[in-house]
Point group: C2
Chain length 660, copies 2
């Protein structure tokens, strides 16, 4: 295994894929920790806190990112000594939480802080397995299963965080939710209703057990989703996408730096946030140089509040990144189905997942630009193409398909696909006629409510447009009255630019006719005098519907606006705070921005939340067709003219030389 | 030429395409008029109004659509006699406007109505050429050109409608806007500024001529967009999309009925609105039958108001469908670049355009659905696929890429791509520093303002969900307080369904947290008791910014809401009215709905407007990278369970047997 990079293995597909050699490339300061670095971190920490007299658990280990100026200074002279490799480690040590910085070259713990706040770190797989184990051995639960006439060996449980609901004293607890299998492999569609189980992970015991009601178990029938077991009537058959010619990936990998078309960016992986795209820059053919666009971007938090306020459900308000880790739940991707032909697959550490990310060239069948002049017999059309980095995080039932897409036009698209299995609740009903009470969702199958919920994905977008010092500009479209008496028209709109001076000026809710939102470099102009910039093209902008004073919403106050802008601060990485499990909302983006810092002509970070409400429907059963949402960052007076004007039309291939 | 269908010719690509035989298929009542039918219509009308004593011009000729119940009754027994073929004809006859219905089998004019309103019909190419001709021969204009030191043979003019601005007496007039070539083939980027020309098409003379100012002519340099002439620095080179295997289109064409996967729909073409998709129905494997979804859909109007209120510009508020005709401006599509490999191209009449539409199977690289269960070693992933019908309407400078996309999940996506050339204004400025006045747009090149404008596309969506009688439901997400004292959580949201009783209840502006909007069949339920329905998933929902009392906005009052619902009425086809040129807004969707008719459990039509504001930028020069917007209709409790659960995974192809 190549030790230089955390992203290590380029795998072969059904079709042969160009094997990218990474042996000779240099390590990059933003590379994720390598397998051997992880081992070294463990060794250093274990020496620092010997396990013979400590109960120690590694809750999070990731790269301690060097300061931005250090990275940029190294980049300006990549032959120089790279900054020292450091790891950021979160430990549970004798039931207390520590934050450590471990220096790998010095082989030492250079900082050790005891965390005294209310939250708890991201769960480990062991934490989750342990509480499930507790439940499966809990006498009263076994009794409940027996009373229902069920077989304990067919029970599948999973743990769920419980949030915070105003109690002054809290400890580290998790709920356990159990489903029945017995005739299905779908672990989420036969909930064993009426039971509430809460486990204390510190004392390792069941702390709350309620068996309130015997609710009919939803049927196994119709819940299996495997092609190997489906029975008629079959759905339609479809053609496969045409394969790329052997060896054609379209991009280059130098270490973890991807080069494709006019783009270049660094790809890393983090257990908490999943993919991290850094140093995205685009080649400007006129200026004969790469120009900076995005220093670092990742999904900072993913908040999923369920909308059932009853005993067994009200606590289900999940923070997927902070509590579970999107990277922790990365799953292996399937060549040709999860990622198209020509994709290169990469493995990740420390989560041992093969093919956890893929990089591929995408041909959508769309048009990049065109114009016809029929009279002059001119027709120029360039087909659309892009490069995509994809990871899928299957946080138990839900599959989140997370895409970063770079386009030759200079646009970056952030796409989220939601699929997988709904979280459902067992009810006595088999027809809506029988329902006389609030059920907090839709009857999606017999005895099965698909519970209403939201998804809010908050992106950390550290844009550095042509340099660090940027400003955030709101371009308002203002209706004006025509003043010239000779003009019979009454109105028009024109734009007014407002530069956000402080964080308060940059809190935006996107409603009807929102302003255009730009990050510009106030120190750089095009030849025509426009400030170079990138514009946020928002996607689905659903706002939270919980009351602002409700506990989950206090913890998720970072979703109260669609957009926030903060001055760059290396420690402000996670919008929900560092310790999100059972947090009280005292360390969120909403709190940081209360300082109302200056953000004009500074190194700034934009935070954007894509939100959507999910009223479930029968089509979501038993596996949801992918619901896609996203947004875009679009160059706006960044280039002197269209960066794709001079794109050479592609040479089309032919199957002429193939035999079927 | 095959006489049975207006869409007649399946053309060959670079790669061989399956030749679809249409000879033996039966004509369909919704087929566009065939070439011979057009000839017959002309002959019948010419006999009715002999040209020796009439000045006659055919402004519009299209199918007079049979009543819906007649079509449906024929469909239930397709071997029966089809309804009589009739044409709807709009004539300018001796300077008056007539609406005729011509019966083709009876070879007679069955109805002839003199139109006495204020509007004028859709322009013909001859109308537009004639006024350009007038301008190019107008002495004062030739003098202006001479005074500017320009060569009249390098001047390219186009006509533009002038709207209505409150005058009581109006006649049929058009503006003429002229650009310079001399060193470029781009007809829109060297405006000859300062000149206003208005021509009277009835009297065939220039009615208004103003040469106000000598404004510097923007340079030719940088405006050419042809691959054959581009000079270094070149943009990046990209791979072509992999080709489909020879002959693989993926769908069947029976006459103009397209069958693909679980979908079936009828495709027609209209000079005014472009593509018309009718009778879209989806196969329900459980019910073993096709189920109705959409009776008829097309772009009813496309309103583009420019936001420059000065003398030469204030009148530029274009209604592309009603004034020009989206179909009239269809352009031939380029195989492999405009439409991907495997596309079938179709020619249209009466606008003689080869390859005006294409139909293709689309593989986006996205995932249709997936779920991983790592522990159980289950991974099921189905790649996304769809079928797309595409037409491009190049209305002078702008290219509108109009897509209808059908997905196996039951979703229909309506996508609009905006590309082509901006409409620009010449100004004395070469840098923003020099600008001290309002310029109504962005300096996108030297001496060139890309004028701010909007696009509002209003779709006519006649949904028939499982039958004619449908209702429109607003599903509001309402924040509620938790009442149970034992629950510490304070809030949640739940849904409240409101059925729109009348047209007033169905006027919707989509802002923050809009209701979910559904069309349901109140008479059909799933087995679980949910009403079968389809949901509108809105796209970009920009609202008009002109004041409601302004003349262009009165004419475009149909854009005042994003959504409207009306009872089906065959005559309510065009949201801006039948005669849009110089119209006064007395025949729009906004006026029709003032009747506030009942819409509950009726045959209803939904109208949806996709709007967007375009603040131009330098990247839009000289050709705009495609800006895509769209919306979706999504099955919601229409199926008993996911219609793609039982989709058989595709058989992947390999290039193994190819030589490069």
């Amino acid at each position: 295994m190549n030790d230089k990079h955390a992203i290590v293995k380029v795998r072969r597909l059904v079709e042969p894929v160009q094997q990218t050699s990474m042996e000779f490339s240099k390590p990059h300061p933003l590379d994720s920790l390598t397998p051997s670095e992880f081992l070294r971190v463990r060794a250093i920490v274990n020496q620092f806190y010997p396990t013979f007299n400590h109960k120690l658990s590694f809750q999070y280990v990731g790269l301690e990112e060097p300061d931005k100026h250090v990275v940029k200074s190294w980049l300006s002279e990549p032959s120089s000594q790279p900054p020292p490799r450091q790891a950021f480690v979160i430990l549970t040590l004798d039931l207390q939480t520590h934050e450590l910085i471990v220096d790998l070259s010095r082989r030492s713990v250079v900082s050790d802080k005891l965390y005294r706040g209310f939250g708890y770190p991201t769960l480990t797989a062991q934490d989750q397995e342990a509480v499930v184990d507790l439940a499966l051995k809990h006498g009263p639960f076994l009794e409940s299963i027996r009373r229902r006439g069920l077989d304990i060996s067919e029970v599948a449980c999973f743990s769920q965080t419980i949030g915070w609901y105003g109690k002054v004293k809290t400890n580290r607890q998790l709920k356990v939710r159990c489903n029945y299998l017995n005739g299905t492999v779908n672990k989420y569609l036969r909930p064993i209703g009426g039971i509430t189980i809460v486990a204390d992970i510190e004392q390792m015991k069941i702390s709350e057990y309620v068996d309130k009601a015997m609710i009919p178990l939803p049927k196994a029938e119709g819940t299996d989703y495997r092609a190997s077991t489906i029975t008629p009537p079959f759905g339609p058959r479809f053609n496969a996408a045409p394969p790329k010619p052997p060896g054609q990936t379209g991009f280059k990998l130098d270490g973890n730096v991807v080069s494709w078309g006019n783009w270049k960016f660094h790809l890393a992986f983090d257990a908490r946030v999943g993919p991290v795209i850094s140093l995205a820059s685009i080649y400007d053919a006129e200026k004969k140089s790469y120009r900076q666009v995005m220093y670092r971007s990742y999904i900072s938090e993913l908040f999923v509040p369920y909308q059932d306020p009853t005993e067994g459900w009200y606590r289900t308000t999940i923070f997927n990144s902070g509590e579970y880790g999107l990277g922790n739940f990365a799953v292996p991707l399937e060549p040709l189905n999860d990622c198209p032909s020509g994709a290169v697959f990469v493995d990740v550490k420390p989560v041992q997942v093969q093919d956890a990310m893929c990089i591929f060239e995408r041909h959508t069948g769309d048009v990049m630009w065109r114009h016809s002049d029929v009279e002059r017999k001119i027709r120029e059309t360039r087909p659309d193409i892009s490069i995509v980095v994809r990871m899928v995080s299957t946080v138990a039932n839900y599959d989140y398909i997370l895409d970063w897409e770079f386009k030759p036009t200079g646009s970056i698209k952030f796409l989220i696909g939601l699929t997988g299995v709904l979280e459902v609740k067992a009810v006595p009903y088999t027809n809506t006629d029988q329902i006389k009470e609030e059920v907090y969702g839709t009857l999606v199958a017999g005895n099965t409510i698909g519970v209403s919920h939201d998804h809010f994905l908050t992106y950390h977008l550290d844009l550095d447009i042509d340099g660090d010092a940027n400003s955030f500009v709101k371009t308002r479209l203002i209706t004006k009255r025509v003043k010239d008496k000779n003009i019979p028209r009454k109105s028009y709109w024109n734009v007014e630019h407002e530069i956000a001076k402080t964080e308060s000026d940059a809190k935006i809710q996107i409603g009807l006719n929102p302003p255009e939102l730009l990050v510009v470099n106030p120190n750089k102009e095009t030849k025509l005098g426009n400030n170079v910039g990138y514009r946020l093209v928002p996607g689905s902008a659903a706002m939270p519907l919980l009351t602002i004073d409700d506990f989950p919403q206090i913890r998720a106050a970072f979703t109260n606006n669609n957009v926030w802008v903060t001055p760059y601060n290396k420690s402000e990485k996670w919008a929900g705070g560092r310790f999100v499990d059972r947090s009280r909302g005292d360390d969120t983006l909403a709190v940081w921005t209360e300082k109302n810092r200056r953000i004009e002509n500074k190194d700034i970070v934009m935070w954007y939340t894509v939100g959507f409400h999910h009223v479930t429907c029968q089509e979501d059963f038993p596996v949801m067709p992918t619901l896609s949402v996203g947004f875009e960052l679009k160059p706006t007076n960044f280039f002197e003219y269209s960066p794709v004007l001079k794109t050479v039309p592609p040479q089309h291939l032919s199957w002429a030389n193939c035999t079927k």
